[in-house]
Symmetry: C2
Subunit: 402 residues, 2 copies
């Protein structure tokens, strides 16, 4: 017989959700600051990261997951702010394509971020006040340089795989270009070798929205006790549209009305798509720092592998007479108009020009750019298959069930 519920002391509901594990942290650049592409140096600074699975005795099974613009290190466990599942828990976990019973998975919050890695919201040791705009502008190259130092700290000479979508894919490409000998295989997803004019334009709108908010205070809002939440929400809303496809928006919302039978003839959110966007904007400001948004979008805008290699993308992958030792698998999605398939093809052509080992799959999906984060079994199968093949080639022990 169950006890009288009225006499049972109620547990706080939150206890039902396992407490998110504390993030891991490492201090980098204490001995000497890390040089930045912009000419400054940063250090000491913190990288916050999460690991999943176990590093094998020969340290050959490490997979680095690189997160996108607003992602973080919580790939496969509940997010400490939102309480939501990890942003890629469909991809990373026991039995998942990136199987944590087989691989040792590492994911670090990028420098400039706001989930524990040093960024503009942190205290500048020179002043004790938040960096704000005195934080140095960083690049995708700087993000990856910091990750390489993290791997040094973890004692990992070579990654079995580096994988990521969108800005994560840019980091994957940067890894293959900057540290080819440290990467066995690379999986750049829904990404590009440079940010296009349209991509820069959308980012600039977001930055202008943030900087137009009087509460931004020239970037010094933390010092002044304000937060540019309205501007940041508008930035998120504009960006969010670019992550979805028109067909996906149509399927999801169409012209459906929100909690009403007819048009209100006013400026409330009549349509579900308006309500959805407003929610995306307001939820985002609870978990993201506005200056981090400025810095990370800037890093993406600056990304241009061909530009850094004499205008020839193939040169970026030309490492000695044998080209690149890295095995590539590129993935794009048919309805992604932010990083369309043509961008992946450009990379594939450059890799072909150096006779790289490269496979390329375009996944049929109507979900737009965000498809890489969503339910896409055909995509998961591609990743699993490519990793399995590479694992065999690398001599990793087979999966437990195999």
């Amino acid at each position: 017989m169950s006890p009288d519920p009225s006499t049972v002391p109620s547990e706080p509901l939150l206890d039902a959700v396992p407490a998110p594990p504390a993030t891991q942290r490492v201090m980098i650049g204490a001995a000497s600051p890390m040089p930045l592409d912009g000419g400054d140096a940063l250090g000491p600074f913190t990288l916050a990261y999460r690991t999943y699975g176990r590093l094998s005795p020969d340290r050959s099974n490490a997979v680095l997951v690189c997160h996108a613009l607003t992602g973080d290190q919580y790939v496969a466990d509940h997010h400490p702010v939102t309480g939501k599942p990890g942003w890629w828990d469909t991809m990373v976990g026991p039995g998942r394509p990136i199987d944590t019973e087989r691989y040792f998975v590492v994911c670090a919050n990028v420098i400039g971020g706001c989930m524990g890695s040093t960024g503009p919201a942190d205290a500048d040791p020179r002043t004790g006040n938040p960096f704000g705009l005195s934080f140095p502008v960083i690049t995708v190259g700087d993000m990856v340089r910091a990750q390489a130092l993290l791997l040094d700290h973890l004692g990992i000479d070579q990654l079995f795989a580096v994988i990521g979508g969108s800005m994560g894919g840019m980091q994957v490409l940067q890894w293959a270009v900057a540290y080819p000998e440290r990467v066995f295989c690379a999986i750049p997803i829904a990404t590009a070798s440079r940010h296009s004019a349209q991509n820069i334009a959308f980012h600039e709108v977001g930055r202008q929205a943030i900087m137009a908010d009087p509460d931004w205070r020239g970037g010094a809002y933390l010092l002044e006790g304000t937060r540019p939440v309205r501007g940041l929400a508008v930035a998120r809303m504009a960006a969010h549209i670019t992550y979805l496809s028109e067909p996906a928006l149509h399927r999801k919302f169409g012209r459906n009305l929100q909690d009403r039978a007819r048009l209100s003839f006013g400026f409330d959110a009549d349509f579900q798509v308006e309500s959805y966007l407003r929610h995306q904007g307001s939820a985002f400001v609870d978990r993201f720092d506005a200056n981090s948004y400025l810095y990370i979008t800037r890093a993406m805008d600056y990304f241009d592998l061909a530009g850094e290699h004499g205008g020839h993308l193939a040169n970026a992958f030309r490492h000695g007479p044998k080209g690149t030792p890295v095995r590539f698998c590129l993935v794009s999605f048919t309805s992604d108009w932010l990083f369309p398939t043509s961008e992946s093809r450009t990379i594939v052509h450059a890799l072909n020009a150096v006779a790289a080992n490269v496979s390329f799959v375009e996944i049929e999906s109507d979900k737009g750019h965000d498809a890489f984060l969503l339910h896409e079994p055909a995509f998961w199968k591609v990743i699993r298959g490519f990793l399995d093949g590479c694992a065999e080639h690398r001599g990793l022990p087979p999966r437990a069930a195999e």
Copy 2:
């Protein structure tokens, strides 16, 4: 011998530009207010308009041009605020496709606008203060109803043609649906029979940017002596990206830097595309009212011809047993992703279902949605050809040169 320039009194440069003609105005709804789709009524109110050419004695040569979201009545003469040429002076003028030596062209600023027609910036006669948000929400149907009253005032029973792009195309469709007997031929360009979820989403971002600006003051900024110029500029920037294509942005700007040899590693406008967007934003606020932007975007969002006809678009064009008497020519542009060709095809299929007289041309262009305003000779040829054919059918006298 030319006189010594230093002794010649300099003329103000502005005099070199012919002074823009004063707009024409008519007061409508003085006897009885015009009913609005939202249930309110408006009147008396002003419509500001421009005419070009001469109305023929039998009044058979009138062409109504309908402007887009941020357009106005200055189709073919210099804009009084910007000093720039008329927004469609490549299309309308002597010898142009809409030949003002042959046709009597009328273009009115839409109600809710801010170039002379009554809108939210005008004084509410009940209070003497600017309407602000007490202005009634208007629809494309209301805009067209007001234009019909203007034509009554001008003594024009039937338009030879009604033509417009984007929101102008929505008005063209509305004309054909609401007043089929008053339209001989209709030319909806780069438009749709309803605003899609993605279109609504982009508009909502713009509205949120405006309403997030503290200077918007709940819409009462004119009364409080402020103007939400930052929010309005961000709205314009976001919208402007949607008017262009990715290839056009790439061709125009690529990743070219603005007045500098290398990246600044800061948040200035490093890239030309950023500088261009900022200019688009700041120039716009000089000529447009923020509340008008809210109202007109809302009117577009509400547009849904099928929705108003039992979910069947063909029913909108079913006027009696013979279908519609209007002759249609639809035009779309290959790179227009805001109002893609598929939207025009949907309309063509509906017109085919009522056996309408319809032709449809998709113009190859990389200029995106704005192509209808730009240098597109193939497009001009289509318009000229269709109008010439309809003119012959209608029995208009041939062109002077013919």
